[in-house]
């Protein structure tokens, strides 16, 4: 992970534009406008969520050989297309989700023009008719590329904060 110190600042406008971008992305997900959401990713997308294990301090906590998500633009597209059918039972009726994005930090990536964006995401998912909900917490590392007046996401790495996930499935996006 980017050490806190070795960070290069970005122009104020960029920073705020990125924050707007993340907020708008969250709305697309929470409004379930998946087709529009899908457009936010570059064709060479790598979208991964590695698996966490409970380990002693100083030992490997994140296993990077197996994933909860391990997506290319193509495979992500398949998931989005599936949700477009009328037989995607898992999310029909859909969960109500709310992606709370905070602790955003924008820095220059090594590749010119690219940005590294770190954010904390608290994902609220309402469940069933008993007033219950799940809370899915994770930290996200994105690589953004300028695209027109906005950005596209070229890399997404979401590290979930549980070794055993407290939600019935990941039929939603991180």
């Amino acid at each position: 992970m980017t050490a806190v110190s070795q960070r290069v600042g970005v122009p104020l406008e960029t920073r705020l534009a990125v924050e707007d971008f993340l907020v708008d992305e969250a709305l697309l997900l929470d409004d379930r406008r998946f087709d529009e959401w899908f457009e936010l990713f570059t064709d060479d997308l790598v979208y991964q969520a590695p698996v966490r294990v409970t380990a002693k301090r100083g030992h490997e906590e994140i296993v990077d050989t197996i994933f909860h998500f391990d997506e290319s633009k193509q495979s992500l597209g398949l998931r989005v297309r599936r949700l477009g059918t009328d037989v995607a039972w898992a999310e029909d009726p859909p969960s109500v989700t709310r992606h709370y994005v905070s602790n955003v930090r924008v820095t220059q990536a090594d590749a010119p023009g690219e940005l590294v964006v770190r954010a904390y995401v608290l994902l609220y998912r309402s469940r069933g008719d008993r007033g219950l909900h799940d809370m899915i917490s994770y930290v996200r590392w994105d690589v953004l590329r300028p695209s027109g007046s906005s950005f596209q996401i070229a890399r997404r790495r979401a590290v979930l904060d549980q070794a055993v996930l407290g939600t019935k499935n990941l039929a939603i996006f991180l």
Partner: protein, 430 residues
């Protein structure tokens, strides 16, 4: 007669569970008393899957798992032998291993420092002489050990001293497990994904053991997206009912093998001709090792012109009457080419496991069946579920593999066998 009025849950079962009549009362899935009884009479009696050997390849390696409600350490000793210990200190019951996995010659309890080697022997405690003037009872402090045996790399354990040998427990299923995980040297990719599913544990088990039929409806998206031709991709093949409550379904295709040619030689060296012939026709392959370990070669799908699949084994670990911890492992042939390993992993993650497109739909069904099962408790008469599918079908006589085998995958015969075994165990006093 109000079968719920009987105080003894076993009696209630006898009166209402009728596997041969294909009638199973919904309440057995979530009745708390039945659950408590299951923990003893089912999970306390039979062999339970705990790990794949590749997870603890080296001496000193260990992983922490659950056997029913018992938390255990699955360990490879200094002598290379696999052992399973209750993860509970013999002093006052603190956990010895608090992390998921590790490597070492011994465990030191964090509470008072009692130490045990990985053969389960007590090896010491701080200030032993002062604390135990009469000397400490080393033998009495041996870790509580379960019997541990493995088959084709699958490690099983049981706390039942009188259980039959693992080979007998698996019985006819072994011929099929050979194909599943015996055809080559397999390795677990990374670690199992784990997540909590609000379902009773038997629902996913019966689904993998016996339910090819649901794919038409539940996984209809597959055809919708043109990943398979027709919704009946789960229809052609065999429905297999080995003795002992296990069950499996084998989907077949005739376009020949889809696995990498590089692996052919290894398969040949490990499978009989019959097994190999079947392997080459596999299109999907799912089943359940009684009670709660399932396996799957997901239906081969076409992605970017390639025929791919990503194999998984999983465990439906009960943690409450209406809740399980799902563990889902991805396995791949150790000697497979990298492109296959990469493709297999991506396909697995996309189809099954925590975010799998198939798994999502399944979990939804199980959750709502569980909800309805809960409510059925308040009827006077049980709400009976229907398992008559495939009744009247005639077993094949010319099939190469053992067990009761039916042509065509649409049947609930294996589910009937599952509940028969379950009922026998539930009614048996020790």
């Amino acid at each position: 007669m109000n079968i719920f009025s009987s105080a003894d849950p076993a009696e209630r079962l006898l009166a209402s569970v009728q596997p041969e009549a294909a009638k199973i009362p919904a309440h057995i899935h979530t009745d708390p008393e039945i659950y408590r009884l299951e923990m003893k009479r089912v999970f306390g009696r039979v062999w339970l899957f705990v790990a794949h050997e590749s997870e603890i390849p080296e001496r000193g390696n260990w992983v922490v798992r659950d056997m029913g409600e018992q938390n255990v350490i699955v360990s490879r000793g200094e002598d290379g032998q696999l052992r399973v210990f209750l993860n509970s200190c013999r002093h006052r019951g603190m956990k010895l291993a608090c992390e998921d996995r590790g490597t070492g010659k011994s465990w030191r309890c964090p509470y008072h420092g009692f130490t045990y080697n990985n053969s389960g022997n007590f090896v010491g405690a701080p200030y032993q002489r002062e604390a135990y003037p009469e000397g400490i009872d080393r033998e009495g402090l041996q870790l509580i050990e379960a019997r541990c045996e493995s088959y084709a790399g699958l490690v099983f354990a049981t706390f039942n001293a009188n259980a039959e040998p693992l080979d007998d427990f698996l019985g006819e299923l072994r011929w099929y497990l050979d194909i599943l995980v015996g055809r080559a040297e397999f390795e677990v990719v990374g670690v199992p994904q784990r997540w909590i599913v609000p379902t009773a544990w038997k629902l996913p088990a019966e689904n993998f053991a016996s339910d090819a039929y649901h794919t038409v409806t539940t996984h209809a998206f597959l055809a919708k997206l043109g990943l398979v031709k027709g919704v009946d991709f789960g229809k052609i093949g065999y429905h297999v009912v080995p003795a002992g409550g296990h069950g499996l379904g084998i989907g077949t295709q005739e376009e020949g093998p889809w696995y990498p040619a590089e692996l052919r030689a290894e398969y040949e060296s490990r499978l009989s001709l019959d097994q190999l012939a079947l392997m080459d026709r596999i299109k999907n392959f799912h089943g359940n090792v009684f009670p709660n370990m399932s396996f799957l070669i997901p239906n081969v799908i076409e992605i970017a012109g390639k025929r791919v699949t990503g194999m998984t084994i999983r465990q439906w670990q009960p943690i409450a009457p209406d809740q399980i911890q799902a563990l889902s492992w991805h396995l791949v042939e150790k000697n497979a080419p990298d492109w296959w390993k990469e493709l297999g992993r991506k396909t697995y993650v996309q189809t099954f496991g925590s975010s799998g497109m198939f798994e999502q739909d399944d979990t939804e069904n199980w959750e709502l069946q569980t909800r309805n099962s809960l409510s059925s408790l308040s009827f006077d008469e049980p709400v009976l579920l229907d398992y008559r599918m495939g009744m009247g079908g005639v077993p094949m006589t010319d099939f190469a593999g053992p067990g009761e085998v039916y042509e065509g995958k649409y049947s609930e015969a294996a589910a009937r066998g599952f509940y028969r075994r379950w009922l026998d165990l539930m009614l048996a006093e020790k």
